[in-house]
């Protein structure tokens, strides 16, 4: 409210309510970020801050003049809008109020929020890539979570879902097409994927609401050319980035829109764009700074090629992106129908009315229609980064409104589409045509939502995996760190969990266990470069082959002279062209640890040893696993600074027998990294081996729940 008053934009009353909510959320999110950054993520601090803000807003509100309302619209459309809004709103409210059970909500959205609250700050989390995503909405979740736990966070998201149709309706009333707004709002609001994600602890509906607010503000600015709106546009565009990475497009979209309009009207460009950028950076910079400090990459978990770091490797990023962009058994041609009708392979559906999307092109005849179609085309981009239907949500409000505009002059068209959508999105009807396991609200349980049934009973019944969390809380001391190969719902435990696939360090620890279990991964392959003894200062082992998947790795690299293996000296300087952080693993005399390029091999990759002074050597050996069939190696030495010559191109290869069992070495390495417990699910690779060979592993069985066994590392 204070910000809006300062900007003094020419808004209608309903619009002011809408933008108050959005800008207020943005500022509050930023404030919570700052409080968390200074170790003040505490319930009472949030409470006090909230009370102070409400008091300030109330104080200034009483002095403010009342803006005029938007033009009225026919009663029929009001009834239509309210019918859909109330009926579906009731379903969503009950779903949001029920114990939180959504997949991402219970793992990382609330898992991290819960962890921040426990440590009262962001901490220094490097083993969870989800902690590196922008968490603007999670900051709001945190305040709610600190007071009302999981469901309170879901209700925050629900508040954004409730706000979105009002924003759409307000915009359509401003442009003179209220009926288009009614159908546009209903298409979005009743859509199954909006319903489920907007009433769970996700950030998609909130992101879409902010994105639409940004678009809306741009349209108002375009109409009024009020310079004071530009800072608000920047703030909301930046909040889009802060809410969800995939909405970063809002920033260039808004920037280009402003630039285009300013140039077209021959107005100064520099100052407005500077103000816009400042507003956007206010929301973006904190998240970039946090990542820069924590994981050395402002855009983590992406752009690791530009900002290489030990926490997320480029290969990890690539594999993750590929996994997100594709679904097994889903051809590109099948995607549209799965997104709209079936929802089984793409986790959610928009609703069959979106099959009418081509009709939205008829909105081209209106200026507003062209704007909406352009926005829907641009915000379709996130769908290319992730195959899930949630990533189509950003373009949905624009497309729905464009469809509404196209149908506004078709007699009965809007009523028919509205009725069709309201009918086909009803949970019992969806069951008839969607895939059986499509992510959607299937049924609601008011007794569970209002806690007439104890929350824990509901969770036991509907999300049995919560018993794993109970086991962890019961059996594991608060200071423990648990390593697991597949993650339990972290939001319901107060213990720290390191999941194998959520970071490069996690992957590495998983690799230690795999090396112990799989003989082919053990360093039985010895590559030896024998040379005539000569003094060298720096040597390089250079990889000369190319392969799309093979990764070069080595468990040990040893240097020899006539008196045997040269003892490794702390003055040696080690470097690798790829993944240099892990190179010490090839010099630690531990067969379960290994250095790997962590990316497909290409010619020129090398490992360099700088002995610090001239050292006579006659051989270099690499002890490696065989899972790198395409690797070809060469030994170089530096003759003068920057000048390298080949010492040997023809290494001899031999096999060695790994005598000892490596299981205990693997768990010892985990323990050295602060892991105290292992959580092995029945579906994990060789899960039974941990139970059968506890002595060999050096672990002790502690407890079991839902097929997951907890072991303590001895």
């Amino acid at each position: 409210l204070l910000l809006l008053r300062a900007a003094n934009p020419t808004l209608f009353r309903e619009e002011e309510h809408f933008f108050r909510f959005l800008t207020g959320s943005a500022c509050f999110s930023l404030l919570v970020f700052c409080l968390t950054a200074v170790h003040q993520a505490k319930a009472w601090v949030f409470m006090a801050t909230g009370v102070a803000l409400i008091a300030a807003a109330w104080h200034f509100r009483s002095r403010a003049g009342k803006p005029v309302p938007l033009p009225d619209f026919p009663l029929f459309w009001k009834v239509a809008f309210w019918s859909v809004f109330l009926v579906y709103g009731t379903i969503y409210f009950i779903h949001a109020l029920a114990p939180e059970m959504s997949p991402d909500g219970t793992t990382y959205h609330l898992g991290l929020v819960s962890r921040y609250l426990r440590q009262q700050s962001f901490g220094h989390i490097t083993s969870d890539m989800y902690a590196n995503l922008s968490e603007g909405i999670e900051m709001l979740f945190m305040v709610a979570f600190s007071m009302g736990r999981h469901s309170a966070a879901a209700l925050v998201e629900f508040a954004f879902l409730l706000t979105l149709p009002w924003g759409i309706l307000c915009y359509s009333r401003r442009i003179g097409f209220p009926s288009a707004g009614v159908v546009g709002a209903a298409l979005v609001y009743a859509s199954p994927v909006f319903g489920i994600s907007g009433s769970s602890a996700y950030n998609d509906a909130a992101g879409v609401c902010i994105l639409f607010g940004t678009f809306y503000l741009l349209q108002i600015w375009s109409e009024t050319r009020s310079p004071r709106l530009i800072s608000l546009i920047g703030l909301l565009a930046g909040f889009c980035y802060a809410a969800k990475y995939t909405l970063f497009l809002a920033v260039p979209f808004a920037g280009c829109f402003l630039l285009f309009k300013l140039l077209r009207s021959r107005r100064p460009v520099f100052r407005p764009l500077l103000i816009f950028s400042a507003g956007a950076m206010l929301m973006i910079a904190p998240w970039m700074a946090k990542n820069w400090i924590t994981v050395r990459n402002p855009f983590s978990p992406f752009a690791n090629a530009l900002f290489s770091n030990p926490y997320i490797t480029t290969h990890f990023e690539q594999e993750y992106s590929d996994m997100m962009q594709h679904r097994e058994g889903l051809a590109a041609a099948e995607r549209p129908l799965d997104h709209i009708v079936a929802g089984g392979k793409t986790s959610g559906l928009l609703g069959p009315a979106f099959l009418l999307a081509p009709l939205a092109l008829l909105a081209f005849r209106f200026a507003a229609g062209r704007q909406l179609l352009l926005a829907s085309a641009i915000f379709l981009f996130p769908a290319f980064t992730n195959v899930e239907t949630r990533f189509l949500m950003p373009m949905a409000p624009f497309l729905a409104l464009a469809l509404g505009l196209a149908l506004a002059s078709v007699p009965g068209g809007i009523v028919l589409v509205l009725a069709f959508h309201a009918f086909t999105c009803w949970p019992a009807v969806i069951r008839g045509y969607s895939a059986p396991y499509a992510w959607r609200i299937d049924e609601i349980h008011p007794a569970e939502a209002f806690r007439l049934v104890p929350e824990i009973d509901t969770l036991h019944k509907r999300m049995p995996s919560v018993r794993i969390d109970e086991m962890l809380d019961r059996q594991v001391p608060p200071s423990a760190r648990i390593f697991c190969l597949s993650n339990p719902p972290e939001a319901y435990t107060s213990r720290e969990i390191v999941v194998m696939y959520e970071s490069a360090p996690g992957n590495q620890m998983g690799d230690f266990l795999n090396v112990a279990l799989i003989p082919d991964l053990q360093p039985a392959w010895v590559v030896r470069f024998a040379i005539s003894e000569q003094p060298v200062r720096r040597i390089r082992i250079v990889q000369t082959a190319w392969h799309p998947t093979d990764r070069w790795n080595s468990a040990e690299i040893r240097v020899f002279n006539t008196s045997g293996e040269v003892r490794r000296d702390p003055s040696w300087r080690l470097h690798a062209s790829a993944n240099p952080w892990n190179l010490p693993l090839a010099f630690d005399n531990n067969p379960v640890t290994r250095w790997s390029t962590e990316e497909p091999i290409r010619p020129g990759m090398y490992v360099q040893i700088d002995f610090g002074s001239s050292l006579a050597i006659n051989a270099v050996t690499l002890e490696s696993a065989h899972d790198q069939w395409s690797v070809r190696l060469r030994l170089d030495s530096e003759t003068s600074p920057g000048k390298w010559e080949v010492l040997s191109e023809l290494p001899t290869e031999s096999e060695r027998h790994i005598k000892s069992d490596l299981r205990r070495a693997a768990t010892a390495e985990l323990k050295a990294r602060g892991i105290t417990h292992l959580l092995i699910s029945s579906g994990d690779f060789e899960a039974q081996d941990y139970y059968r060979n506890q002595k060999l592993w050096g672990i002790a069985f502690v407890a079991e729940a839902q097929g997951s066994r907890l072991f303590r590392i001895l």
């Binding site: 009708v341 069959p352 099959l355 045509y433």
Partner: protein, 454 residues
């Protein structure tokens, strides 16, 4: 006079249809439609995958009727009978529009309504009557627009569009003739005035119908198998045969198709009157679309009820052409039309016993046989029983298990299945196997009920 006569004839035909609907046994396609669709929960009817038997809006109406009354042949056929009423009304309206109150009006009306192929569908549980009725209403509205002076009125366009959408919702095969009709109308309109009011036509003629059709058909269609979508006749000749069955013996179909095609082209090129243009345009364009889909994606030609629009568009076109033609054809036609109408009337009267008793169909009488089976089972104290049946009758027996109900019939098998069924219902073709070790208990038309010899 002609109008009164027409109304009287239509009322009489309707009464006969009502009688036929209440006494005829259910057919295989009617039974399949009931078992697979109308007997399901209402929400499911709108979402079950499309097949030729699934006529969404008709199945939903059947569901409503059954819920309101009970499962009998008559109540399930009530929507179809209402479709017949709508069809008669639409025929009346369009004939009146094209021919006024003349004798030609009566003649054309008789040709269109007394056609045995048409009548066969109007007393059955199928959406084709409703679809044809709505389709003809759309044609009537669009013809009226073309006969009236410019500018284009929005309301009749909208009504025609909605009617076409409903026609598709009642019988999906009307989609192609519907597209053909809209395109033909646009063609005629373009001839009248080269400046087409694009948005008016789009908003009132195209989109409303698309939305109505979409609302009812999209979920079944997106869930349909490719085979269901492409089903139909393998050639235009088979398609034409299916229209004229059962009286198709000896008809040179290729010649008929060529003659109709030539007439259609001739009308389109020669005629300047809107009704002939729109009807011939519809015929040509929908046939061209069908042929294009056949050649490109392998879609079958319309067959049976799917070819229904051609059964009334071709006679209507011939009649309209003759009405406008000043030459010998025009002079001759009223007499020719009357002769054809009288022929149709004679054929109708001649077929009346068949219409009333339905005895030329193999399934005729199975309702009586099913009743006899029910009585036999009751006599055994409703002991669980297995019934062997000729494959052609299997679907129908499924319906009668609901109809009577035959709860004691736990299993419906083939006649020669093992273990031997307790009762056997067979057609003459299977009677040799059916009668082995059994005695005939009841016989109706061509069907016999056999029971074990005690």
């Amino acid at each position: 006079m002609a109008e009164k006569a027409a109304l009287l004839i239509l009322a009489a035909v309707l009464l006969i249809n009502i009688y036929a609907a209440s006494v005829h046994s259910f057919t295989s396609s009617e039974s399949r439609a009931y078992i697979n669709y109308s007997s399901k929960p209402l929400l499911q009817i709108f979402t079950l995958p499309y097949t030729a038997d699934h006529q969404v809006l008709h199945d939903a109406l059947c569901y409503v009727v059954v819920q309101m009354f009970r499962v009998t042949e008559f109540w399930l056929r009530l929507p179809g009978l209402l479709g017949g009423v709508l069809f008669f009304a639409a025929v009346y309206r369009i004939c009146h529009l094209l021919f006024g109150s003349s004798l030609r009006f009566l003649a054309t009306l008789l040709v269109l309504t007394l056609n045995p192929f048409t009548l066969n569908y109007l007393s059955r549980s199928t959406g084709v009557g409703m679809a044809a009725g709505f389709y003809l209403l759309a044609l009537e509205q669009l013809s009226r627009i073309l006969l009236d002076p410019l500018p284009l009125p929005a309301a009749p366009l909208w009504r025609a569009s909605i009617a076409l959408g409903l026609a598709v919702a009642f019988q999906f095969e009307f989609a192609l003739p519907g597209i053909g009709l809209v395109l033909a109308f646009l063609h005629c309109q373009f001839w009248r005035s080269s400046q087409l009011p694009g948005w008016l036509l789009l908003n009132n003629l195209v989109v409303p119908g698309v939305l109505v059709g979409f609302a009812f058909e999209i979920l079944p269609l997106v869930r349909a198998t490719r085979a269901s979508l492409l089903a139909g006749a393998g050639s235009a000749k088979v398609s034409a045969q299916s229209i004229l069955n059962p009286a198709s013996a000896g008809i040179p179909f290729t010649a008929v198709l060529i003659a109709v095609g030539a007439l259609t082209l001739w009308c389109l090129i020669r005629s300047r009157r809107a009704p002939e243009q729109i009807i011939s345009g519809t015929l040509l364009l929908s046939s061209a679309l069908g042929a294009a889909l056949h050649w490109t994606v392998g879609m079958g030609y319309p067959e049976g009820p799917g070819a229904f629009p051609y059964a009334f568009l071709v006679p209507l076109l011939i009649s309209a052409c003759a009405h406008a033609e000043p030459g010998w054809f025009g002079t001759l036609f009223p007499k020719l039309a009357l002769a054809v109408a009288l022929l149709a009337l004679c054929a109708f009267v001649w077929q009346l016993p068949v219409t009333l008793r339905g005895r030329n169909r193999p399934e005729t009488g199975i309702n009586k046989v099913a009743r006899a089976l029910r009585d036999q089972i009751r006599r055994t104290g409703n002991q669980p029983a297995a019934v062997g049946i000729s494959p052609e009758l299997k679907d129908i027996l499924e319906f009668y298990r609901h109809r009577y109900p035959l709860g004691a019939v736990r299993q419906v098998t083939g006649i020669q299945s093992s273990p031997a069924p307790n009762w056997v219902i067979s057609l003459p073709s299977d009677q040799e196997h059916a009668s082995k070790g059994r005695k005939a208990l009841f016989h109706a038309n061509q069907i016999t009920l056999f029971g074990a010899v005690e």
